[in-house]
């Protein structure tokens, strides 16, 4: 029985020791920062990792994330300065910079997120409202984001939150505008298609007309040349004739007349009068 008592005492002492250790030491992880609260008052803040002591039962330790956190803000409709609605899908990268302020004003990350949501959205709305659609879309985007970040950072500083970055994940058009854009894109394309086809036809017509023209030119050039050739031939012929015939014009006449006689009375009826010289021997014989 003595042994039993001794054992019981040992066990109790060990358990008490463990319990004491658990309640009087606390560990801050590399990813965390801690606040020690004594009856609700902040006693100390630990941002470096390691093991620390506290008064058991009296001190209460709250730990917070030290790493960068990402908060994806729900998609919001915002209106640009040229009265166009866009759906802005923003997200914020933030971290707890001052755990004391954080615990004093917000207590938990869940509460912090609603606050970030409100503030970033409100600033996003204000800042985007100063720019027109195109600027939001592309040219002024970095400046806009920087402005939203700066404003949000200022607003959230008092909560112990640092806004590292605000970025626009998506800037989409509302559904009805998207449809309109599709329609416009379609009409642009169809217009382009029509133009391409018309240009094709134009080019085709031009080429055909050009071909017809070329063909006419070729033929008429040839006709021109042909006439020249014919003329030259005829002129040569005339020259040859006149050269020969001028040797004796009388003989030419005679020869031509006799040729005409020979060739011109085929299948015709010849009527010779009685006193025709041809028949002069006809009567002499009688």
């Amino acid at each position: 029985m003595k042994n039993m008592t001794l054992w019981a005492v040992v066990i109790i002492v060990v358990f008490l020791g463990i319990f004491f250790a658990l309640t009087s030491f606390y560990i801050v992880d590399q990813t965390q920062q801690a606040i020690v609260l004594r009856f609700g008052n902040i006693k100390s803040i630990r941002t470096e990792p390691g093991i620390y002591t506290k008064v058991p039962f009296v001190d209460n330790v709250e730990k917070f994330e030290k790493r960068l956190m990402i908060y994806d803000i729900p998609v919001e409709r915002v209106i640009t300065s040229d009265r166009r609605t866009i759906l802005a899908d923003t997200y914020a990268i933030w971290r707890i910079e001052d755990p004391q302020k954080f615990i004093e004003t917000l207590r938990t990350v869940e509460v912090a997120l609603t606050r970030i949501d409100d503030i970033v959205y409100s600033h996003a709305r204000d800042v985007i409202g100063n720019y027109n659609f195109l600027e939001v879309l592309s040219t002024e985007r970095p400046a806009i984001l920087e402005e939203i970040k700066k404003r949000s950072s200022n607003s959230l500083k008092s909560f112990g939150i640092e806004v590292v970055e605000v970025r626009l994940k998506r800037t989409d058009l509302p559904k009805e505008n998207t449809e309109a854009v599709y329609e416009r894109m379609k009409s642009e394309r169809y217009a382009m298609a029509a133009q391409l086809r018309a240009e094709g036809e134009k080019e085709s017509q031009r080429m055909k007309a050009e071909a017809d023209k070329q063909a006419s030119i070729i033929v008429s050039e040839a006709e021109k040349e042909a006439n020249i050739i014919r003329g030259t031939g005829e002129a040569s012929a005339i020259n040859i004739y006149s050269e020969a015939y001028s040797l004796d014009t009388d003989f030419y006449e005679l020869q031509k007349i006799t040729d005409i006689y020979k060739d011109s009375f085929k299948d015709s009826i010849l009527v010779f009068p009685n006193d025709s010289p041809l028949l002069k021997y006809f009567y002499e014989v009688e």
Partner: protein, 332 residues
């Protein structure tokens, strides 16, 4: 396993006590229980690191060392703990689509609202992209950022949209694809570095870059129109290729005809002239006789050639002849 081996003799021990050895068995149970408890407790210090991983060991929450793959031991909770970070595996982020099943024939599903982006000229384009990254600084990755995947993904989406928004639809579809992928990769890396996140962007690949589905028919129509345009031109080319050689042939024919005609004229003239000269020579030799002969020859031939020869008493006899009857009768 260890606890079981220790438990076995325990059972044997129990049996022995039942036989009546009596006092002290409580003590033994407690000793064994304590040993088992300490054993289990020490096991919390054993950890295994996979081939692509490293383990970051923390002593009282503070990072102290990094260990590579293998089985390791550190002091048990709460003295030391560890986090394991994969540093070799290339992680893949999909923008605009999701892989629905891996394996030999992977299948994909489009996520339109993620894929559709606005270009600088206010058109909408659908882009599917893959971002590959790995952790190159495990300490920074584990201790500086939370939700590393979401961070890379949000940044990638945001940067890609920014790049697309600063370009034009036609360019994004064609020549600026590579440029956008490259710039996106660079910018994501810069942002990741500014967070000190320990993330290394390996590659950004633009996969399908297409017009959004509702306007695809219109885009196709433009492509068809380009084909049609070419068809028209080809058809005209065919016409040209047909018409011009024909005309050239025709032209050649016209010229050849003319040349033939000219040659013919000259030849005829030359022939006649030569004949004339020959006759003239004969004629000059005996002018009177030849003249008469020529006349009489021609008269003779004229008479021979004629169909009918009539000798009339007086010039008016012929008035009574019915010419058409004579010619017609002949024909019958």
């Amino acid at each position: 396993m260890a606890e079981y081996e220790i438990f076995d003799p325990n059972d044997e021990f129990k049996n022995e006590t039942k036989k009546g050895r009596g006092s002290g068995w409580w003590k033994n149970i407690i000793i064994v229980a304590i040993i088992v408890a300490i054993g289990i407790y020490m096991l919390t210090g054993v950890y295994q690191v996979g081939p692509s991983e490293v383990a970051l060991v923390k002593t009282f929450g503070e990072y102290t060392s990094t260990t590579g793959p293998g089985i390791h031991f550190h002091l048990p909770v709460p003295f030391q703990s560890h986090v394991i970070v994969d540093v070799r595996t290339i992680n893949k982020i999909e923008i605009g689509f999701r892989t629905t099943s891996d394996g030999r024939t992977p299948s994909y599903r489009s996520v339109n609202e993620e894929a559709e982006m606005i270009t600088g000229d206010q058109n909408i384009i659908s882009i599917e992209a893959v971002v590959q990254y790995k952790v190159n600084d495990p300490v920074a990755y584990a201790f500086n950022v939370i939700q590393g995947y979401d961070l890379v993904k949000s940044t990638a989406e945001s940067v890609l949209r920014e790049k697309v928004a600063s370009s034009e639809l036609e360019k994004v579809l064609t020549i600026e694809r590579d440029k956008i992928a490259m710039e996106t990769s660079q910018t994501i890396q810069e942002i990741m570095d500014s967070y000190n996140s320990g993330v290394q962007i390996e590659n950004v690949y633009l996969q399908a870059v297409t017009p959004p589905a509702p306007v695809v028919p219109a885009f196709d129509d433009v492509n068809n129109a380009r084909q049609d345009q070419q068809t028209f031109i080809n058809e005209a080319q065919r016409y040209t290729n047909d018409v011009i050689p024909r005309a050239e042939g025709q032209a050649q024919r016209i010229i050849n005809d003319a040349e033939a005609y000219a040659y013919q004229q000259v030849a005829k003239a030359t022939g006649e002239a030569e004949r004339f000269k020959a006759l003239l020579e004969e004629y000059q030799n005996s002018e009177e006789v030849t003249k008469k002969r020529l006349i009489l020859d021609s008269v003779q031939q004229m008479i021979e050639n004629s169909k009918m020869q009539v000798i009339s008493e007086k010039g008016d006899t012929l008035n009574f002849l019915n010419l058409s009857e004579i010619i017609g009768g002949e024909q019958q």
